[in-house]
């Protein structure tokens, strides 16, 4: 997983064209996010060749998250050619299976 932040977000996510980019928006106080993390790492092993995996700590990159219209955790977004292709808001994530369903589309 590549840790993205305000300095590299453009290069790693918005301007990246080789494959879809998955971004796991999490935060220091989000327990659901932390409990999902190991499962997301497993998903990277499975889908990593097709999709680039990134994570973004919103506690340290608040403005960037809000600019991406993320105001709740956990949020998972897949970008294709810098555009949002799929968004999972917190209410749509009860387990890693929900994330996998989204990744299968790419």
């Amino acid at each position: 997983m590549i840790e993205v932040n305000k300095d590299n977000f453009e290069a790693e996510v918005l301007n990246y064209k080789e494959k879809p980019v998955f971004v796991d928006y999490w935060g220091d106080k989000c327990e659901t996010c932390k409990q999902l993390m190991p499962d997301v790492h497993k998903l990277e092993e499975k889908y990593g060749d097709k999709i680039k995996f990134c994570s973004l700590n919103t506690s340290q990159n608040r403005r960037l998250a809000i600019a991406q219209k993320v105001l709740g955790l956990p949020t998972m977004i897949v970008y294709v050619n810098g555009e949002k292709a799929e968004v999972l808001t917190p209410d749509k994530i009860s387990s890693a299976a929900d994330i996998e369903e989204m990744l299968k589309k790419f």
Partner: protein
């Protein structure tokens, strides 16, 4: 039959974790199945100051992490999976998950509850984009911004106070003219300069282009509507039990809660319920933990009677 557990506990919140501790400490084989996050609803609060003994380092996540560890040390097994169906018709109960099937002599249902929706327009669409049900998870985003809280009970007021650590202002919108929350909480809230109140009012609509920008608030006495600008709204208007999986398998009351006797027995032999999912008057961590303990001991007695004679 392949592996039969003594007890399967469905749900890994405070009730399930406490049942796990008591069950495994009695040398029973115990499996806890959790679909989302261990710790349940309790992981969504940073201010758990009414659990006895919890004076220091007692955020919800910290407390429930310790509960899980304690159960684990006595041998409770944990898996992450979602229970999708059950068969309680024979002595050996079957629990079907997305990724496997498990069998047990007794089952404890501890699936808890989830936040009820506020019931305003565009609420679902703006979830995670300003509409939230978890202050601990999302408060960070609202540093220096204006937010609203809907509700007047303990959860609403506790979380409103917590939110003042981040937000510029917190407006509590309540449909009555007084709060239901504990007096000590009310006092704290009334004395907090960042908290404002809008009484006798409900939110009818959320507005904003992709993220929340304002709420339409309607006074239920006068019928007048007004607009308030906020970037976040936190909804704490009560709970719904998570019991749809059990419908038709055990008795539920009209609201979907599970009626039990004082030993946590449901109407089906060998099936117990504990915690917020149960018909009860006080839904808290302490009562969930107590239910879990009682359910595990009752399940042990049941197993001894039924299987070990």
């Amino acid at each position: 039959m392949s592996n039969v557990y003594d007890i399967i506990i469905i749900g890994g919140g405070p009730a399930g974790l406490s049942a796990g501790l008591y069950g495994s400490r009695s040398k029973l084989s115990v499996l806890v199945i959790e679909k989302g996050k261990f710790g349940g609803q309790a992981t969504t609060t940073a201010e758990l100051e009414n659990y006895p003994g919890s004076i220091e380092n007692c955020t919800g996540p910290a407390l429930t992490e310790r509960m899980k560890k304690q159960a684990e040390e006595f041998g409770t097994e944990f898996i992450k999976d979602e229970v999708v169906s059950v068969d309680f018709t024979s002595d050996i109960k079957k629990v079907l998950c997305k990724n496997g099937e498990y069998n047990a002599k007794a089952v404890i249902i501890a699936t808890g509850a989830e936040p009820r929706l506020g019931g305003f327009e565009r609420e679902i669409e703006l979830r995670g984009r300003g509409v939230s049900y978890c202050a601990t998870c999302d408060a960070d985003f609202f540093e220096g911004l204006d937010v609203a809280v809907i509700g007047g009970g303990d959860s609403a007021i506790t979380e409103a106070i917590y939110l003042t650590k981040f937000a510029e202002s917190v407006t509590v919108i309540h449909r009555r003219d007084s709060l239901r929350a504990a007096k000590s909480l009310q006092e704290k809230a009334f004395n907090n300069p960042k908290i404002k109140f809008i009484w006798n009012s409900v939110v009818t609509c959320a507005k904003g282009d992709e993220i929340l920008e304002s709420l339409t608030v309607k006074n239920v006495v006068t019928g007048e509507t007004s607009e308030i600008s906020v970037n976040g709204v936190f909804v704490f208007v009560g709970l719904n039990p998570i019991t749809s999986v059990f419908k038709g398998h055990i008795n539920l009351n009209e609201s979907g809660y599970i009626p039990t006797d004082e030993n946590m027995r449901t109407n089906v032999e060998g099936v117990f319920a504990a915690g917020d999912v149960r018909v009860k008057s006080l839904r808290q961590v302490i009562t969930a933990a107590a239910d879990g303990a009682i359910a595990a001991v009752a399940a042990e007695e049941y197993i001894n009677e039924k299987f070990n004679k």
